[in-house]
């Protein structure tokens, strides 16, 4: 083997002397459609878009509120249009998906140890859900009272 060949092995690990041709499969653009787990992952990633839409709608709502009763009435009227309702329903489901998957993943990223033992996953995820419930109840109380 020549010195050049030996150098190639060291740096790039491309060694073809006895392997005339490797076959390398191209990854399809639609790789995420083939398997439910991949599709779930893409939906979770996509959920960031509806989350952003949710935030933008809320900001517009806040602006309408600050611009006086007439502006807010106009905004409320827009919220009642079928388009706005569909957008909100879709966003709501994606926000739910985003939140639940995020909370479920938290224990994997946070290996919290107490007294030399790792806390069970449930104990790491549960406080997130508890806080979510408390915040939701407080918000609901403000809106419905």
């Amino acid at each position: 083997m020549s010195a050049v060949n030996r150098e190639t092995i060291k740096t790039t690990a491309v060694y073809t002397e006895f392997h005339p041709r490797w076959y390398r499969e191209r990854v399809s653009v639609y790789w995420w459609l083939g398997q439910w787990q991949y599709l779930k992952f893409i939906l979770r990633e996509l959920s960031s878009v509806p989350v952003a839409i949710f935030v933008v709608i809320t900001l517009f709502q806040l602006r309408a509120l600050l611009s006086g009763p007439a502006a807010y009435a106009r905004f409320e009227h827009w919220l009642r249009t079928p388009g706005a309702i569909v957008l909100n329903v879709i966003s709501f489901f994606f926000v739910l998906l985003h939140t639940i998957t995020w909370f479920n993943l938290a224990p994997r990223a946070m290996a919290i140890r107490m007294r030399g033992k790792r806390l069970p996953d449930l104990l790491v995820a549960a406080p997130n859900y508890a806080l979510w419930l408390v915040v939701s109840v407080v918000v609901a109380w403000f809106i419905l009272r």
Binding site: H19, Y23, W31, G34, F41, L105, R108, A111, R118
Partner: protein, 260 residues
């Protein structure tokens, strides 16, 4: 008389084929047979040219990883009878995302280079004299890294990770989990050296947390968890470098005191 099942196996001969093709083989199904037994049956009795890797046939050497019906599996731990219902076929392919050398044999050099780059061995900055004795470790200190040390380098996690397929320079799940295994070891002092290699878009930040690596791991290593914990460690490291610009190294991130 044993039941029969059809195996559709990828065949690729680099000297003759432009791309892989499937060939079907009928094999008997015995209760105790795994997919690897069926491959050995074909090799011994039907077609001696079938090429594949295997060694221990007991789930510890990590050689016999293949795609079985689209899932990365150790073929020595995947029972044929699980697929033998209703006249199903079993499709056996080489591990996804790796270049194929021949039939079911993949080329692993790229993985081995990545593995070496993350320095998966104990790194010491100071070497205490032998007279001080061995490095002692408490059961808790062992418990911190034990799960990650179970990796057998079977590369099933690479075949499950779409990031590996889409971005071939990504270091990948097993190598990062093994880097974390040594970071968490109380005897090691190389966390900052590994951080320099892995706190990188092609290292830990390449991972988008699909989580499939953990699902397919036959040794329950949880590489996805290891990578997310590594990310958390890198962020804390970065924050600490602001708070304490001088005299700070990554090893400070570890929360438990070391025994040296």
């Amino acid at each position: 008389m044993a039941d029969k099942i059809i195996l559709e196996i990828t065949r690729y001969s680099p000297e003759q084929d432009v791309e892989p093709r499937f060939e079907s083989y009928e094999v008997p199904v015995y209760k105790e047979w795994v997919v690897l037994d069926a491959l050995n049956y074909i090799k011994d009795k039907v077609d001696g040219s079938l090429t594949y890797r295997w060694s221990c046939r007991m789930g510890i050497c990590g050689s016999c990883g293949m795609m079985v019906n689209g899932e990365p599996k150790l073929t020595c731990a995947t029972f044929l009878s699980a697929y033998a219902r209703n006249g199903n076929k079993v499709r056996v392919e080489p591990l996804r995302y790796f270049p194929v050398v021949r039939d079911l044999v993949t080329e692993l050099s790229d993985f081995l280079v990545k593995l070496r780059n993350v320095k998966p061995w104990l790194i010491r900055k100071d070497e205490p004299p032998l007279s001080q004795g061995e490095f002692l470790q408490t059961p808790e200190q062992l418990d911190r890294y034990k799960q990650f040390s179970m990796c057998i380098n079977c590369t099933l996690c690479y075949a499950a990770c779409p990031v590996v397929g889409l971005d071939p320079v990504f270091v990948g799940p097993a190598a990062i989990a093994l880097a974390q295994r040594y970071n968490m070891d109380s005897r090691d002092q190389g966390a900052d050296e590994r951080m320099a290699v892995l706190a990188h878009p092609e290292g830990i930040w390449g991972c988008t947390f699909v989580g499939e690596c953990t699902r397919v791991c036959p040794k329950h290593v949880d590489p996805a968890g290891a990578i997310q914990q590594y990310k958390l460690m890198a962020v804390l490291d970065w924050v600490k470098s602001f708070i304490m610009p001088r005299g700070h190294t990554s090893k400070d991130v570890r929360s438990e005191p070391r025994n040296d």
